[in-house]
């Protein structure tokens, strides 16, 4: 007798819940990184389930680039308040104002600057574990990262010195000043996240669904027209029906033309699409093949 079967999503959820509980039990001050995007929404749900009916035993941290979609910020505040979690916002603008980082030019992508803000926030609050929603299927450097990824006192990742992680026995031992990044959704694919959102009936920010928006076509991507993204020579502002596949710094996150107004329709479109999430919508990764690996070494998400 082989007994009741466990579906893919339930297996992935069980594995993620296990990782969240291990870290909460073994590390002193965890925090959950929440961007308001679908991955962190799925992650937050997993974390809530891990401890229910008790409240989440750690706060939620958002690194605000200052270039966020207003719809996402609105969603973030509402979602976190409804659940009664403690929200900490670390602002890249504050890091710039304090001279911790330098902005190359106003309106340039702040993706890389986020790293400093994140590390400063971890240090300020003495967090020793940060949960993130990153997945191994996102790109090649991530494919080798551990679920519990050790960071030295400078927040850096050393891909050649990763701790072995056999089975799901996580080693969360660190020295003062060091921390771990924890990726409970490591083994989820983009479609798994969408299907989980659907199965759990999770609410998403409205920009994930088809809406009319003024966009500018640049390097084959549709960027939202905003105070930071203005048409340059020859570019036109188009009025298009679009949705987003990821949410990030709006100066580098591309929209896709879409008719999908609900989650089921979004999933069908993605199943039919043949371009990866990052390839389609993240300008920052396209610059160099090893772009992500470099940023991760520095301490990026």
């Amino acid at each position: 007798m082989s007994g009741p079967r466990v579906s893919l999503l339930r297996s992935l959820e069980a594995e993620a819940v296990h990782a969240v509980r291990e870290v909460a039990a073994e590390l002193e001050r965890p925090v959950l990184l929440f961007s308001g995007g679908k991955d962190s929404i799925a992650l937050l749900r997993v974390a809530e389930k891990a401890f229910r009916p008790a409240p989440l035993p750690f706060p939620v941290l958002h690194v605000d680039t200052g270039h966020n979609f207003p719809e996402v910020l609105e969603f973030r505040d509402r979602r976190i308040a409804e659940a009664g979690h403690r929200l900490i916002v670390a602002s890249v603008q504050d890091s710039i104002d304090a001279g911790r980082v330098k902005e190359q030019e106003p309106g340039a992508s702040r993706n890389r600057l986020q790293t400093r803000t994140l590390l400063d926030a971890l240090e300020e609050h003495r967090f020793d574990a940060a949960f993130g929603g990153a997945r191994r299927d996102e790109e090649r450097a991530r494919a080798k990262e551990r679920v519990l990824s050790f960071r030295d006192e400078f927040g850096q990742w050393e891909p050649r010195q990763q701790r072995p992680e056999p089975w799901a026995i996580y080693n969360g031992r660190i020295r003062r000043g060091e921390h771990v990044r924890v990726f409970p959704l490591s083994n989820w694919t983009e479609l798994d996240v969408w299907r989980y959102v659907e199965a759990e009936g999770l609410e998403l920010p409205s920009i994930y669904f088809a809406h009319r928006r003024r966009v500018i076509e640049r390097d084959g991507m549709l960027l939202a027209w905003s105070q930071w993204v203005q048409p340059q020579d020859g570019e036109q502002v188009l009025d298009e029906q679009v949705r987003y596949r990821t949410v990030g710094d709006l100066t580098v996150t591309g929209a896709v033309r879409s008719e999908a107004r609900d989650i089921t329709a979004v999933i069908s479109e993605i199943e039919a699409s043949n371009v990866s999430e990052r390839g389609e919508t993240r300008a920052d990764d396209r610059t160099s093949e090893a772009a992500m690996e470099d940023r991760k070494r520095e301490g990026y998400f």
């Binding site: 082989s2 069980a14 509980r21 080798k144 050649r160 072995p164 080693n171 990866s276 389609e280 690996e293």
Partner: protein, 625 residues
């Protein structure tokens, strides 16, 4: 939720056997390659460089070999696959071990031209060792041997012979060409003589749900949820074996308490609730993560395990295990590490190193001096506290552990339990160790020193006044010309017992050690003055027996102060912290104290001052002479 299932795969092969090409082929032919990923590896004139698709970090791109485990994902309408792509070379055995540790199925690649080579044997052996029940051997590059059936059959016969030796139940051997896609996703026309399924079909149809053990419950407790309202506590963990539903009887280990499950949350909101409403009673099965409530208010913490009655694993203090050594610095017998097993971490000493398996020849080497990086060997470990383990062959979760170096916090070994034994260090009859009587007779030694040894054992609640009496007693004895030495429980924890915590097992072990030290001091002619809570009568009794057997005086002094008074004094603020939940298992708050029934001296501190108590002890010691 959708009924698509998950299958975990691991691949291994020597460099250039075509592992990366096979992976690229699976991704390409299941249409999972997205156009931008394909573009990144496309080359002019030729087809895509399939191998480059699955090759990750920059250092590896430079060297052209896969070093670390990389995880790949692909799916068909029936199944989703997580594939751990592991390096094949023996220099990276630890990575293969890691990648294959969770796999349901292993794919081993063989080059048709070379047949079964050492690496093939190694990979197959490691797969078998890691408890992977389904091993598929792909004889690759069949195009380079002209799709000759005889060549394939010869290789397949070697593979089957190997599988049989390693007790791999149903090995599948497939002729493929990863480069051209034959028998990978679609059946090839070039091998009409092969009547088995193509690789992907086999991966889709294999029944792995049957590999789970649904009979004997194993739920290692990860976390205790304490909801703010009056609800019961929730015990959270991931099911390692067995099933669980409301009404099931369970035993909490290591305490041995029996109780009943009153509710189960499998985290699935569509599954109805535990009371049987909705879709019927919830039955949790592995590998679900659950939260359970128990009918009785029993003491359960992280590291405990819920098991079904009658299936209890031994409360082991000794593990015989196969380990894969993963650190640069070699493993040597006698070294001590932290051992993490499910949700419990203890300390473990390498008692013996029995065997090392030569990575090249696979020949066992008896009693080696050390295990080097990537070596596999067999050891005996002695643990500081109980481990509730099953043999790995019976359970891949409760039979697995890692060793951690406590100086640099690195994970240094992955271990598989062969057997777990209940060895009580105190009782163990080791025939090769007998008490070695000193050449000087005790009476002569004591006579020459003009002193007599004995042990005064002060027991009582924390803050009951033991230390005050102990300090005064030591001074009084020394002032009167008698050698005395104060053994303070905390001081001993600082050194000799620094590997012990405050779990019941660790406390018993601590008391055992202090008891032995006291006996040695007493034997030398000094009065050992011990100040130790020592809450359990059995532990104190064992120390008394130790002294009786050695013909030494042992005075048990019960410093009797009411719990309320102790808590009122609380000089170190420990009661307050225990009440706040910061200290768990604190005697007098949430751990029991067994009052001595027939102490040699009873000191009710409410009525007796320190000085007369000390005087009375000195008197008793004198009587003993």
């Amino acid at each position: 939720m959708a009924q698509r299932e998950l299958l975990r795969l691991a691949t291994a092969g020597s460099v250039d056997d075509g592992k990366s090409t096979l992976l690229g082929r699976l991704l390409l032919d299941t249409k999972l390659l997205l156009s931008d990923q394909l573009e990144a590896v496309s080359r002019d004139g030729e087809g895509p460089d399939l191998a480059a698709l699955t090759d990750g970090l920059r250092a590896e791109r430079e060297q052209g070999i896969t070093i670390d485990v990389a995880y790949r994902f692909f799916a068909t309408p029936r199944r989703s696959f997580i594939l751990a792509d592991t390096p094949g070379h023996e220099r990276y055995t630890r990575n293969m071990f890691t990648g294959a540790s969770t796999a349901d199925l292993a794919i081993v690649l063989v080059d048709a031209r070379h047949g079964v080579v050492t690496q093939t044997r190694r990979h197959t052996q490691i797969s078998a060792l890691l408890g992977i029940r389904h091993v598929v051997t792909c004889v690759n590059k069949m195009d380079l041997v002209g799709w000759e059936q005889e060549r394939f059959e010869a290789v397949a016969a070697d593979v089957r012979e190997l599988a049989q030796r390693l007790a791999i139940p149903d090995p599948l051997v497939l002729p493929i060409s990863a480069l051209h896609g034959d028998n990978v996703v679609d059946r090839s026309e070039r091998s009409p003589w092969y009547d088995g399924p193509p690789l992907l079909e086999h991966l889709e149809q294999l029944d792995v749900a049957a590999d789970r053990d649904l009979s004997r419950l194993r739920l290692p407790v990860q976390w205790v949820a304490r909801p703010a309202n009056a609800r019961r506590r929730g015990y959270a963990g991931q099911l390692a074996a067995g099933t669980l539903r409301a009404g099931d009887p369970v035993v909490v280990l290591p305490a041995g308490t029996r109780t009943t499950v009153s509710a189960v949350d499998t985290l699935d909101d569509d599954a109805g609730d535990a009371s049987g409403n909705g879709a019927g009673p919830v039955v949790a099965v592995p590998p679900l993560s659950v939260t359970v409530e128990l009918a009785d208010d029993v003491d359960v913490g992280r590291g405990d395990v819920l098991v079904s009655p009658g299936s209890e694993p031994p409360a082991a203090r000794e593990l015989e295990a196969t380990i894969c050594w993963m650190a640069e610095e070699p493993l040597r017998p006698g070294r001590r590490y932290a051992l993490k097993h499910t949700t419990r971490t203890v300390r473990a000493t390498v008692q013996a190193l029995h065997e090392r398996i030569d990575p090249e020849t696979l020949a066992p080497e008896r009693e080696p001096a050390a295990l080097a990086l990537n070596d596999i060997g067999r050891v005996t470990l002695r643990t500081s506290s109980v481990v509730l383990a099953d043999p790995y062959a019976e359970n891949r979760v409760t039979g697995a552990f890692v060793l951690i170096d406590e100086h640099d916090n690195d994970t240094v070994a992955a271990g598989l339990v062969l057997s777990a034994r209940e060895v009580r260090p105190a009782r163990e009859g080791r025939r090769d160790v007998t008490w070695h009587a000193s050449s000087l007779e005790r009476e002569r030694r004591w006579g020459a020193l003009g002193t007599r040894g004995a042990t005064v054992w002060l027991t009582g609640l924390p803050a009951s006044g033991k230390s005050t009496i102990a300090v005064e007693l030591e001074r009084a004895l020394v002032d009167s010309g008698r050698a005395a030495y104060l053994l303070d429980g905390d001081n001993i924890r600082y050194g000799l017992s620094d590997d012990l915590g405050f779990s019941p097992g660790d406390r018993a072990e601590h008391i055992r050690r202090v008891g032995h030290v006291a006996r040695l001091i007493a034997d030398s002619g000094t009065v050992a003055v011990v100040s130790l809570v020592s809450p359990m009568a059995a532990d104190r009794e064992a120390v008394r027996e130790l002294h009786d057997a050695a013909g030494l005086a042992f005075l048990e002094v019960f410093v009797d102060t009411t719990p309320e008074e102790c808590e009122r004094r609380d000089p170190k603020g420990l009661y307050a912290r225990a009440r706040a939940g910061e200290i768990k298992g604190f005697t007098g708050v949430d751990a029991p104290y067994e009052r001595p029934r027939t102490p040699d001296l009873h000191v009710p501190t409410a009525e007796v001052e320190v000085a007369p108590a000390v005087a009375r002890i000195v008197e008793l010691l004198r009587d003993d002479q």
